[in-house]
Each structure stands twice: as C-alpha cells, then as structure tokens.
C-alpha cells in the first residue's frame, strides 16, 4: 500500500475539477480523476480514467483498479455534474433524466464503491459538490413566486 494519500476527483477534465486535481497532485496526493472523454492534460501524480459516473459497471471497475493499484482511497471529491441553463419550459425529459443520472446517481455510485474501500482502513473523507444555482435559488424562487402571484 502506498504511503501517499489517494484522492479521487470526478469530472476532472476541466473547470473546478481540473484545478482541484492539479492542485492536490502538486501537494503530494495521488490523484485519480475521471470524465467521459480524455483529460486533455497531464500532471505528475495524476491518472485519468475515461469513465461516465452514471455507468455503474464503469465506476465499479475504476474503483477496483484504484484500490488494486494503491490499496487505499482517502478522499473523494464528487465534482462531476451536468447542467442545463435552458428554460424549464424548453427542457426535454431526456435532458432532465441525464442530469439525475450524472448528478444524483453518479454521485451515489462513486460514494458507494469508494466507501467500501474506505471501510477497510476505517478512514475516508467524501465531499459532494452542489450546484452553482444553490446560492441564487432563493431570489429565483422569490421571482417565481412573484411571477406566479402576478399570473
């Protein structure tokens, strides 16, 4: 088993996920990231997995691979998510279902399989990311109520 801490960052191809992965790799963590496509970037201490977090078998295979290579998982950053900025009235059921698959089921699958590895050492930290909409949800709801009231 490695002496370094092992961290999983989902959705590490770009944005916050990429920056977290790069930062923690620089700080000495073994960072294992994933996204549906190739990472398109490299860093010492970083390994990319082409995995859709909504794919149960693929998530299981990735966690098994990480566990076999390093013998431990210390931290999971569940960052992967899809979002649509489309108006509700113009959003398809397929889009809504895909959001649930990735943002809800995907997060749960990575939690489930990583937690099983964490249980062996009775240590682990999991951070589940929420949406950018959360901080602005309150005014939005007020707006909606306001609009509804006007209707």
């Amino acid at each position: 088993m490695t002496d370094q801490q092992v961290m999983i960052v989902t959705g590490s191809r770009k944005g916050i996920g990429r920056h977290l992965a790069e930062t923690y790799a620089r700080r000495g963590y073994i960072v294992e990231g994933c996204s549906r496509g190739e990472a398109g970037w490299e860093a010492a201490g970083y390994t990319h997995h082409q995995v859709d977090v909504a794919d149960e078998k693929a998530v299981k295979a990735m966690i098994t691979n990480i566990s076999k290579r390093h013998g431990r998982i210390d931290v999971v950053l569940n960052n992967a998510a899809v979002a649509t900025m489309n108006h509700l009235l113009l959003t398809t059921a397929a889009t809504a279902n895909r959001m649930l698959e990735v943002n809800v089921t995907g997060t749960m699958l990575v939690c489930r399989d990583a937690a099983k590895v964490m249980m062996r050492r009775r240590y682990g930290r999991i951070v589940n990311f929420t949406t950018i909409v959360a901080p602005i949800a309150s005014p939005a709801r007020r707006f909606t109520r306001h609009r509804r009231a006007r209707w």
């Binding site: 098994t64 489930r112 249980m119």
Partner: protein, 103 residues
C-alpha cells in the same frame, strides 16, 4: 458453468461472518447455512449486514478476482432479502457472479 461454485461461496460467507462477529467482540456461534443474517434471530445488526456484504465482496475480489456488487432493493426484507441467511447469500453470490460474467 458457474463462475464460483456454491461451496466456495458458502465458505466465504461463513469466514466473513465469523470474522465480523469476532471483531465485534462476541464469541461466534456455530455458523451453518441456516444461520440468520437479516431479521429476527439474526446474528448481526443492520450495520453488521452492511459490513458483512462489503467484506464478502472484498474476499470475492481478492480470492477469486470477482468484482461483483451485492446490492438489492430487498436487502433488509426478513422474508425475501438475498442476505437473509448464509445459504441464501451464497446462492445470491453465485447468481450475481454468473450474471455479471455473462454481461
């Protein structure tokens, strides 16, 4: 051809359960295929069931290179849980391992 034979599955469940009960500081009872895991007369509590299933999965992976997920909607059902006794869990392991190998 089954991916894992039933006797091996029973053996893994028995060893995992014995070790878990020992870790909890209790003297393990005689463990047979009829030993109850879920419901009234169960030898472990609900958290114990979770630990047992994780332990069994890890042994399947370590000893047989089988990466299976033993999850079920009926996990905590006394009547129909695939984890309800040692023998039933062994059957479920064989079933899931065979299904996953075929997939």
């Amino acid at each position: 051809m089954a991916v894992i034979d039933r006797a091996a599955a029973v053996d893994i469940v028995k060893r995992s359960l014995r070790e878990l009960i020992e870790q909890l500081g209790d003297a393990p009872p005689d463990i047979t295929e009829d030993t109850v895991i879920v419901g009234k007369d169960a030898v472990v509590d609900s958290l114990g069931v979770v630990s047992l299933v994780v332990e069994v999965e890890q042994r399947l992976e370590a000893e047989y290179d089988l990466a299976v997920t033993l999850a079920s909607e009926k996990a905590m059902s006394q009547r129909s849980s695939p984890f309800r006794s040692v023998g039933v869990l062994a059957d479920y392991i064989c079933e899931v391992a065979t299904e996953e190998a075929a997939a």
